[in-house]
């Protein structure tokens, strides 16, 4: 068995599993801070109930993110030793700073955020929430800076086949970094707002009309409604940036074979790389030229300009379409839900029913977008510097196949367990409503009183 293909599948599986959880924790930290600040301002215990419900989801997602992240940090060495040997001088410090500035911050204050409400003052507990939310975001900053550098590397020179940093500022703020960071942070925001809105809709369908359900539902729906148009705009800008720096990726996303003007937008097609053409094509004339160049005469790059040096077309083309399609669905659902909540102060049952499966729409879009950009980088691991095939380690294919099988089984089971617990928590919250004792009241009194106590 080919260790390269297997290692790629394994890394793809690991990172796909991993990214699901940072996609939640990055934004959920800030949502929890919002709940906490609303509680501080209004002294309304429903905000604190919402906090306690969602902090459990945060804790679980964080644990899943940590354990899968540890797996990633080992995999660089087990499967891709060529990566650190070639670009370790640049990747190393960025990863080190991620660990030093972000990991410890999150991990140490998470304990206080989760379990410390009655042990520390309200102010310290709020501060812990700020630090954990900030930690997850700083973590995202470092890792996206590194990932962007791999896509659009600058600020270095090669000496004896090893990259050496010349300009750290240029490395950090490389050409695609700002676009990628904004796109990812917004993706996290959307993932979380649909997660909250979807599970709150489930509570609503179960007859829960408690204040904390309404507060969470409104927060989720309105955040989604505000973020999705911003995301569409940011995604468009990100695409233009990719056109400038990685034209072969754009060509694959559009499944466009020949460079030229008047390029149609392909809505549906089965790209055939052997024949170098699209089958079953459905197109809008001049569409791609309009979107990318804002003119029908706009020249769009084609795959035939990059023989042997462009990514596989099918997954990039379809990854992009799934992401955009999910995004448009998010726009429609969040805006209608926002309309009904704002104008009618209610949620129609069919819409609530649609929102429940949309709970994981953020995951779908994030993964699809991630595949578009990461597969779109192939055959390079670091564009123009290191080919994926040259980074793979000397591990036997059989070992990789065995571990891959176990990882996949483990990930499937954990995902089922995770989603099961989310639904379980939502149903439990729906059953308890606002009648459950305020968390902590039954326990020994601690330093921090809850409202109304």
């Amino acid at each position: 068995m080919d260790p390269l293909i297997l290692s790629r599948i394994q890394f793809g599986a690991n990172i796909s599993f991993h990214i699901l959880f940072p996609a939640i924790t990055i934004a959920l930290g800030w949502v929890l801070l919002f709940f906490k600040l609303r509680y501080n301002a209004t002294n309304d215990s429903a905000w604190m109930r919402a906090y306690f419900t969602w902090v459990k989801v945060f804790a679980l997602s964080f644990a899943m993110g940590v354990v899968s992240g540890v797996t990633m940090s080992f995999q660089f060495g087990t499967n891709w030793p060529g990566y650190m040997e070639t670009v370790g001088n640049i990747a190393g410090p960025l990863l080190a700073y991620e660990i030093l500035t972000a990991f410890f911050l999150e991990a140490a204050f998470l304990g206080i955020m989760l379990f410390g409400f009655r042990r520390v003052s309200n102010r310290i507990h709020t501060l812990a929430t700020v630090l954990v939310a900030g930690g997850t975001t700083v973590s995202a900053f470092w890792i996206i800076a590194l990932n962007s550098w791999m896509q659009t590397p600058v600020g270095f020179e090669m000496r004896d086949g090893v990259a050496h940093a010349v300009d750290w500022w240029a490395i950090l703020f490389n050409p695609s970094m700002p676009y990628r960071l904004v796109h990812m942070l917004l993706a996290s925001g959307l993932t979380v707002s649909f997660l909250i809105a979807g599970l709150s809709a489930l509570r609503y369908l179960k007859g829960d009309r408690s204040e904390s359900m309404w507060k969470a539902l409104r927060t989720g729906v309105f955040t989604a409604a505000i973020l999705i148009p911003i995301q569409i705009l940011a995604g468009d800008q990100h695409g233009l940036n990719t056109l400038e720096h990685q034209p072969q990726k754009i060509a694959a996303m559009e499944a466009n074979w020949n460079t030229g003007p008047n390029v149609p937008l392909v809505l549906f097609a089965i790209p055939d790389e052997a024949a170098r053409e699209n089958r079953f094509e459905v197109t809008i004339p001049n569409g791609a030229s309009w979107i990318l160049r804002h003119s029908a005469r706009g020249v769009v790059p084609g795959l035939n300009d990059y023989p042997g040096n462009h990514p596989p077309v099918f997954p990039v083309f379809w990854g992009f379409r799934v992401m955009v399609g999910t995004g448009l669905l998010m726009l429609a659902v969040s805006w209608s839900a926002a309309f009904f909540l704002k104008r009618r102060h209610s949620l129609p049952r069919p819409l609530a029913l649609l929102m429940v499966p949309m709970t994981i729409s953020g995951w779908v879009a994030t993964l699809a977008g991630w595949y578009t950009t990461e597969i779109g980088r192939q055959p390079w691991l670091v564009t123009g510097v290191l080919r994926t095939a040259d980074a793979v380690g000397p591990v036997a294919g059989g070992h990789v196949a065995l571990t891959l099988a176990v990882y996949l089984a483990l990930y499937v089971l954990l995902l089922i367990a995770y989603l099961g617990v989310l639904v379980h928590l939502a149903l439990k919250a729906a059953k308890d409503g606002d009648t459950s004792p305020l968390p902590g009241v039954l326990n020994k009194p601690m330093s921090q009183p809850a409202a109304g106590e």
Partner: protein, 334 residues
């Protein structure tokens, strides 16, 4: 040896990495040990034991990320060599850590009838992770030797380390628990202490004979004299701790933290011995820390951050331990 930056930086990073591993072994050691002791505990005791590590385990595990991260960023060549040689045991470790980490969280959130299942997974994950770490340490000490002897030695160290972690876990329970559970933990500590001492003695004896290079480093004068306090002090601490355990728990809960601190000291001594055996290699007998190191300018960048951030990390870790100091109480999300 000249004392310029290209010489010093890899040395400093080897020290930092060693420190991170030592802190990891001590801190996550008690988490893993508590997981192993789950097998011997009742339901209610398990809840208290989880409460004793709940606020800490995340931060504790982060030291492993830092240690591997430092190996990755400071010694990229060694990172590749070591981890691809240890492919399968690393994989087993990761599966153990994944199971342990999520079981910990799931058990508190699932419906009551499923809790048992996650308790068992928590035990299994902790045991698997401990054994894998010990095995890797064993084959690494012998220079990544995958002959029958090397693997047998790996298995020996695996059980020794699992016993040592269980002892750390028991000592932590003595510190964090009261009443019957505390008394039970003292008995656990006595059993695991015997196993730990046997294991450590076996490892100490086997190492120099398995590796002529290590033998030559230890059994020459005058080094032998300078090094003799390491084994002697360790043995004395073991004996002293053994005597202490027969008086625990004491009235007013005096000295409840003593077993843990003593064990940490024994770990540190054993670790110092290992460090001396390896030096100056990062991959035993193959790559020295200078051959495997990143470019000095990259190391300097990381060092600048480390010098600023490490004291802050240590400071707020202490703060977190202080907030959750005292006896473990029911852990609730509020």
């Amino acid at each position: 040896m000249t004392y310029d930056w290209p010489t010093l930086l890899p040395l400093i990073f080897a020290g930092l990495m060693g420190l991170a591993i030592l802190i990891y072994v001590i801190l996550d050691g008690f988490d893993l040990g508590i997981g192993i002791l789950f097998a011997a505990a009742e339901d209610a005791e398990q809840d208290t034991m989880i409460a004793a590590i709940g606020p800490f385990w995340d931060a504790n595990e982060t030291w492993l990320v830092l240690a591997v991260g430092l190996l990755l960023v400071a010694f990229p060549m060694a990172h590749g060599v070591i981890l691809s040689a240890l492919y399968i045991p690393v994989f087993v470790l990761l599966v153990g850590l994944i199971l342990r980490g999520v079981a910990f969280d799931f058990r508190a959130k699932v419906a009551t009838e499923r809790k048992h299942r996650w308790n068992r997974i928590f035990f299994l994950g902790s045991l698997i992770a401990s054994l894998a770490q010990g095995y890797m340490l064993g084959v690494y000490v012998l220079g990544l030797d995958f002959g029958l002897g090397g693997m047998a030695f790996g298995v020996l160290v695996a059980f020794c380390l699992a016993a040592a972690y269980a002892a750390m876990g028991a000592a932590w329970v003595i510190y964090k628990a009261e009443g019957d559970l505390q008394k039970k933990a003292v008995r656990w500590l006595r059993t695991t202490l015997v196993l730990t001492a046997l294991g450590m003695a076996a490892v100490s004896l086997a190492t120099p004979f398995a590796s002529p290079r290590i033998f030559a480093k230890w059994f020459v004068l005058p080094e032998m004299l300078y090094l003799s306090p390491l084994p002697i002090l360790s043995a004395l601490l073991f004996l002293w701790l053994w005597r202490q355990t027969s008086h625990l728990p004491r009235p007013d809960d005096r000295h409840s933290l003593t077993p843990f601190l003593t064990l940490a000291a024994i770990f540190a001594l054993g670790f110092a011995g290992l460090a001396w055996s390896f030096y100056p290699f990062v991959v035993p007998d193959r790559l020295t820390i200078w051959q495997a190191a990143s470019a000095p300018e990259s190391l300097a960048i990381i060092l600048a951050g480390t010098v600023v951030v490490l004291p802050i990390i240590i400071f707020y870790s202490f703060y977190a331990y202080r907030v959750f100091g005292g006896k473990a109480r029911d852990l609730t999300y509020d």
